[in-house]
């Protein structure tokens, strides 16, 4: 997780912290809503993935969180020498972080997959790609959800 906040995030955090203090609630960081951090670090073996190479295609605003179309693709020649082995997709505010893991090989020809996912609320979708040389790349996209998709 990148520890740089823009003005808006800092403001939100400030308000959140103030509200939490006012109600006597414990202050939790804005990015620790579920087990996304653990799932990612388990996938990367503790390594910090670099930004880039991964492309996440999701709508900016999802009217129905029950089925949100998602395409993830990773830039790679997909040859025996250099290819993408796995791509992990997680969310940071669903009850459980994990969404899917895609497994590729040079036989895939291209590292690209499309499916439909559930989003419980407005949140970030994060994809982490593992290359055959052991390096990791990541991308993140914020999706605004009008109607949550986890029942309840």
């Amino acid at each position: 997780m990148k520890l740089s906040f823009d003005r808006r995030q800092v403001l939100t955090m400030g308000v959140g912290a103030a509200a939490a203090a006012a109600f006597g609630l414990p202050v939790t960081p804005a990015f620790a809503k579920n087990d996304a951090e653990e799932v990612i670090s388990k996938f990367t073996g503790g390594k910090k993935p670099a930004d880039g190479k991964v492309k996440l295609d999701l709508p900016e605003i999802a009217e129905n969180g029950n089925t949100v179309p998602m395409t993830v693709s990773v830039e790679s020649p997909m040859t025996e020498q250099s290819y993408v082995t796995d791509v992990l997709v997680v969310t940071d505010e669903n009850p459980r972080a994990g969404v899917a893991t895609f497994h590729f090989s040079p036989a895939s020809g291209v590292a690209e997959a499309n499916t439909r996912i559930r989003l419980a609320a407005t949140q970030n979708v994060i994809a982490v790609a593992k290359m055959n040389d052991g390096s990791f790349f990541t991308a993140k996209k914020l999706v605004k959800v009008t109607i949550g998709g986890c029942g309840g």
Partner: protein, 108 residues
């Protein structure tokens, strides 16, 4: 469960090395295990947790699904045409049962 998946290849014949796109849709509730019924009991999780595609017996793409995959899961991916043969798609349910669909690719 005798569910028949709907599978579509963007071409029946491909040149060697050409990319073939696969689109597949299967009917399944994908019960997340998070929902509650009217009596307040949690509805047990029941999802398809694994998907594998093989072409002529060789795996070209697979995926592990979590409850955050929508009901009636849709999957779209590509593979590189190498040899003619059956394109077999398999989904594995939490209860161990399998949903299998098959198409054919001819490499010219």
């Amino acid at each position: 469960m005798s569910v028949k998946p709907r599978i579509k290849l963007d071409k029946k014949e491909a040149k060697k090395g050409e990319l073939v796109e696969v689109k597949a849709l299967v009917s399944h509730v994908m019960e997340s295990g998070q929902r509650k019924d009217s009596a307040g009991n949690t509805i047990p999780r029941k999802i398809l947790n694994k998907f594998v595609c093989t072409v002529n017996g060789k795996e070209v793409f697979s995926a592990d699904f979590e409850p955050a995959i929508s009901a009636n899961p849709y999957i779209q991916f590509k593979f590189k045409a190498q040899e003619s043969g059956p394109v077999v798609l398999t989904w594995v349910d939490d209860d161990g049962s399998k949903i299998v669909g098959e198409e054919k690719i001819t490499v010219i």
